[in-house]
């Protein structure tokens, strides 16, 4: 029964992905029709997830994430600020038992989770936020990042607490495990159904936002340097490399990526710092624009509400706080105290959003790519009136690239490489998240895993080759649907985390938990 459901599910997924691609190759018009059919089929779901709150232009899903983050911040009495120093000490290894050396450290779990979130959201997403919402969007983005730290804390603590540890020493964890086990423990009904629902959304999100979107954007970025060529080629190359890593077990490629990606991240922040240092006299002005824009909009479409929506939305897209993906990555850490991984994980939105996204935003603002009406001091809108006019008409990655390029001429080439590597590392991370949801539904096993991995590779080719707006919309909606299920369940499970927090704090204060001398 399980196998037949698995086969049906796999077939449905492949059909959903391959139809548009095959159709597009045959005749664009048929491809368009299939895309339209797909959009019609999935449209209600996408529209529901991104629907605005009546009377506003504010998508309710963004409000859902922000309210969740605010509730967790209040419920845990601003845990992200009270335990910030402790989180840093944990990452440094001050509280790690030397006898556990060789196990997954807090630093490694954090770095792995970060490599899944730092990527296009930090480069392209921020440009979209600032390009539409103006500099003021940065303020709301930072606020959303700070609040999101509490969401990460909650989900990652539960991820470790309720993970499965198997006899062979491997582990599996994440929302599907804490939802089903946690609800059972609290005597709440529906845990299994919600866990299954989360897993389905996680698989769809992994194949879409964590795969097709990444492949698609990587191809777009490569063609900006090489000139246009069929996406199928990029797709096959990416799929072959990912296949070698996740199916062939060629760990060396993943290791190289895992080493290069943090280096690229540091280089990106370093380049941003250089631009800021060179233009140090404009930093005060830039922050002035951020604060003024946050509350007045400075002429952007939708005024300050437009800035707020863009800031919150892009922060949520970038750091994934409340989505539940990070809980899967963090659950492999070696610790006797699940809450310690919660503390460590709260650094993730800080690094991803508060530091890296803000750097991008500052570079875009300071490079003065956004056009200002000198008479009013407000930003000028483009012809369509839906975004701020830019010097070369750029938006998204191209805007970020132009902003860096205006100060460091060769940096756009490095940025292209960074985008491709970030996309690759995000794909590797999401292949694992999707796999964990897949094995939760269909059971652990080599054949079961292989089926998912092959589907994942096929979707890379589709993502790079086809223009699949509706499919990508649907996949993005699936990632946010994960947050609907996850945050709903976190409201029931947060008392478990509070009990852990109170217990740990008491032992930390009494000196029972203390640093190891290394």
């Amino acid at each position: 029964m399980k196998t037949s459901i698995q086969t049906l599910f796999a077939a449905a997924l492949l059909l959903a992905g391959t139809l548009p691609a095959q159709a597009q190759e045959a005749a664009p018009s048929i491809g368009d029709r299939v895309n339209d059919a797909f959009a019609t089929f999935t449209g209600p779901f996408v529209s529901f997830i991104f629907a605005p709150i009546p009377g506003t232009g504010f998508p309710w899903i963004v409000m859902w994430l922000v309210i969740g983050a605010t509730v967790f911040t209040v419920y845990f009495s601003a845990v992200q600020f009270r335990f910030f120093g402790h989180a840093v000490a944990l990452v440094k290894g001050d509280y790690s038992d030397p006898n556990d050396a060789g196990e997954v450290s807090h630093f490694q779990a954090l770095a792995t989770a970060l490599s899944g979130t730092v990527g296009l959201g930090n480069i392209a997403g921020v440009a979209v936020a600032v390009g539409i919402g103006g500099p003021g969007a940065t303020f709301w983005m930072i606020l959303a990042g700070l609040l999101g730290m509490a969401s990460k804390f909650t989900e990652c603590t539960l991820g470790v607490k309720y993970r499965n540890e198997y006899e062979d020493g491997t582990v599996s964890g994440g929302p599907m495990y804490y939802i089903s086990k946690g609800f059972d423990e609290l005597g709440l009904p529906g845990g299994k159904i919600l866990a299954v629902l989360f897993s389905v959304f996680c698989i769809l999100g992994a194949l879409g936002g964590g795969n097709m979107f990444q492949a698609n954007q990587a191809h777009v970025q490569i063609t900006q340097i090489t000139g246009d060529y069929p996406g199928l080629i990029t797709g096959f190359i990416f799929a072959a490399v990912v296949f070698l890593v996740i199916v062939g077990g060629i760990k060396s490629i993943a290791r190289v990526t895992e080493k290069v990606v943090p280096f690229m991240g540091l280089m990106y922040v370093g380049a941003a710092l250089i631009v800021l240092v060179v233009n140090y006299d404009l930093i005060g002005w830039a922050f002035g624009q951020i604060f003024a824009g946050a509350f007045t909009g400075l002429g952007v479409a939708g005024g300050f509400v437009g800035a707020l929506i863009q800031g919150f939305r892009r922060a949520a897209f970038s750091n994934e706080a409340g989505v539940g993906s990070a809980a899967i990555a963090h659950s492999a850490v070696k610790t006797k105290e699940p809450i310690t991984e919660g503390f460590v994980s709260l650094l993730e939105p800080l690094i991803d959003t508060v530091v890296i996204c803000t750097m991008t935003a500052l570079v875009i603002i300071i490079s003065q790519q956004l056009m200002i009406d000198q008479a009013t001091g407000n930003y000028m809108l483009n012809e369509a009136g839906d975004a701020i006019a830019t010097v070369d008409g750029n938006s998204g990655v191209a805007l970020t690239s132009a902003a860096f390029g205006s100060a460091i001429g060769w940096f756009p080439y490095v940025l292209s490489l960074a985008v491709v590597l970030f996309a690759f590392s995000t794909m590797i991370s999401w292949s694992y998240y999707g796999l964990k949801a897949w094995t939760y539904l269909f059971g652990e096993g080599k054949t079961t895993e292989l089926i998912f991995k092959l589907i994942f590779c096929v979707f890379i080719v589709i993502g790079a080759a086809a223009s699949l707006g509706p499919v990508i919309d649907f996949s993005d909606a699936a990632i946010f649907a994960m947050a609907v299920v996850n945050i709903f369940c976190l409201y029931f499970l947060m008392k478990v985390v509070r009990a852990e927090l109170n217990n740990y704090s008491a032992r930390l204060k009494s000196g029972e938990i203390r640093k190891f001398s290394h």
Binding site: A101, A109, A111, T112, G169, S172, S429, Y432
Partner: protein, 143 residues
Amino acid sequence: MKLVIGLDGHSSGESALAFAKDLAGKTPLCELIVVYVIEWSPFSFQTAEENAQRHKRREEEIALARERVVDPAVAALRDAGLEARAIVRHGDVADTIDNIAHAEGASQIIVARNSAGGLTSRLFGSSTANLVMTARVPVTVVA
């Protein structure tokens, strides 16, 4: 008296072992602690899948180190009538050997001259050289 013998799995470790055996044979109530350190850093980068399998891999690495390096060494020392035990740890080689020697209250660390050469050791120094420079316990380097 306690002596810590640091092995690196290479044949040069035999000379350290032979020297320690000889020294222990001349010293009454001498305990030998054979240490093997698996080079590892908590600040390296790994994929999510590697993390999930890390505990299993660690157990395998420790079992392999015991089977191939330290257990035969300890058996040889015990056959010679000496008191010996083994410790296998992950970490930075020099730091870990020094920490173990310090914690055990050893009077001496005995290691072989590092067998690894090449660019890496020229740039960053060998584990033996690092140990000699940083150890809190006297170190004997056997040629």
